[in-house]
Amino acid sequence: MSIEPYSTRVRALFDTPAHAGGLDDAASSSIDDQGVRIQLFAQVEAGSIRGLRFRAWGCPHVIAAAEAFCECYEGRQASDLSDFTASELMQSLPVPIEKSGRILVIEDAVRSLGKVLCGTSEPHD
């Protein structure tokens, strides 16, 4: 029986989501699925992500995960976004296994943002 449903990290990210909000003149992606709504905004300069913001509607793990993603990828290369996987957030926050579906929605939003930024079309493999 897991008595405390939220780790200290999840609580902190949920309480003060420093990257919450929108960004003007930014690339963005947005997904509404599985009762979760996610919007991501990125400003990129010379291939590097200068600003990363999110808006989210969902349970505390979704909000914390979106914040954690922004915290982690702000300042990195836009091309790194394709490395992002939901499972790294699932483990580091952590997120309980029954909520994986919701975190995959974030993964989708990140992928879609990556594509917008890199201007690539869906790879067909």
């Binding site: 939220y6 609580r11 949920f14 989501p17 919450a20 909000g21 929108g22 947005s30 509404d32 709504r37 996610i38 919007q39 808006r55 989210a56 509607w57 969902g58 349970c59 505390p60 909000i63």
Partner: protein, 391 residues
């Protein structure tokens, strides 16, 4: 887990803290120097214990205006409901197998009726109006020649809504149908005069009225046809209706809680009404808020409101350190939206965003101030976080 940084407990409908006087009464009945013996034992120590049991029955009976012999001790309202409903259905099944209840009852009623359905009983589920009230005409229309039992709760545990037990009971009496009332949320909190009300069976539990957990009561009216079969078998305790060693300290605690309730009920109600009104005044203008229930026809200790476009779990976390419920405490471990609110016609989204504030004797006006502030800020925080509906 000893430090509790300013928790604000607003979940009195789930369970109450035990009154210090009750704690004191119980603590004298536990150890070697107290009356801990088995009250059925034929010796001095046993007889001393049995005095406490008899006193407690008097205390609870006085609160309910009934004879102490009409009360059975159980382990709580869940057991009382099971014993009353299954017991009466079985005792009367030779006369007929039709039963009537509502989908907005507590799980400890609805799940019992579902079990009876599986055993071949025929259950009519009467739908509530959008506040949760029973339409008496619908009840009248539902009666059949083989109807044996109606079960309707007094105060709804999620919304606080009050049913009109007197009128429901009159309808039942006219047709010689038994009425069981789940009074877990009303006994000790509202006047419940079972000497006057046309009620045959009533369930109650100590832990919702400042008594200990693990002890409940069942009232069985002294009327022809009002019989139940036991659920459990064993020693001859409690006229064979509910065997097992009597838990003297819990019974005495329940009795003491009943005595306290009898004297403080009016004052408690006034206190709760003031606080509930303060709370509702503080949040009713939040955009998208919607009251569940009917504030003019409710036990004032419970206020339940849904809020548009807010995710319930995040709302609950954002409300900390308020301790409030999203659904009935008894089924909150499941993540399903409240079946009670769904039955009142709320959408899944409305139901899952519902917060039940339930207030009690120790709730102070300052707590309500904090609750209002927290609720407003949680809602605006989550709204700020949410995507602007563009997609």
């Amino acid at each position: 887990m000893t430090d509790k940084p300013d928790l604000i407990y607003l979940d009195y409908a789930a369970t109450t803290p035990v009154d210090p006087r009750v704690v004191a009464a119980m603590s004298r009945l536990l150890e070697m120097d107290g009356d801990f013996a088995n009250p059925s034992a034929d010796h001095l120590a046993g007889r001393r214990s049995s005095v406490h049991v008899a006193n407690a029955a008097e205390q609870l009976a006085a609160l309910l205006h009934v004879h102490p012999d009409r009360l059975i001790w159980t382990s709580g309202a869940t057991e009382s409901n099971n014993l009353a409903i299954i017991g009466a259905a079985r005792a009367r099944q030779h006369r007929g197998q039709h039963l009537i209840t509502m989908p907005t009852e507590h799980k400890a009623v609805t799940d019992v009726f579902r079990a009876l359905e599986r055993q071949g009983f025929d259950v009519t589920w009467l739908l509530p109006d959008e506040c949760g009230a029973l339409d008496i005409d619908a009840l009248e229309a539902a009666f059949r020649d083989d109807t044996q039992l109606v079960s309707i709760m007094h105060v709804n545990n999620e919304t606080g809504l009050l049913q009109d037990i007197a009128r429901i009971g009159e309808s039942c009496r006219r047709r010689d149908v038994l009425l069981h009332v789940d009074a877990a949320q009303s006994v000790g909190k509202l006047p419940v005069d079972l000497g006057q009300l046309p009620v045959d069976l009533a369930s109650m539990t100590a832990h919702k009225m400042y008594g200990p957990k693990g002890i409940g009561g069942l009232y069985i009216a002294d009327r022809p046809g009002c019989h139940i079969e036991p659920l459990m078998f064993g020693g001859g305790q409690q006229r064979r209706l509910r065997p097992g060693t009597l838990a003297v300290h819990l019974i005495a605690g329940f009795g003491c809680a009943a005595e306290i309730a009898a004297t403080s009920l009016a004052e408690d109600l006034e206190h709760l009404t003031t606080l509930r009104d303060q709370l509702w005044a503080g949040i009713r203008d939040v955009p998208g808020i919607r009251l569940n229930g009917d504030i003019d026809n409710s036990f004032p200790g419970i206020l339940n409101a849904s809020i548009a476009d807010i995710e319930g779990e995040s709302l609950l976390l954002a409300l900390e350190p308020l301790c409030v419920a999203t659904g009935s405490a008894c089924n909150s471990q499941s993540q399903e939206p409240s079946y009670v609110l769904r039955a009142l016609g709320r959408s899944d989204a409305e139901a899952q965003s519902a917060i039940r504030f339930s207030l009690g004797r120790q709730t102070r006006s300052e707590d309500i101030v904090v609750a209002v502030r927290r609720y407003r800020s949680a809602v605006s925080k989550l709204r700020d976080l949410a995507p602007v509906l563009a997609a």
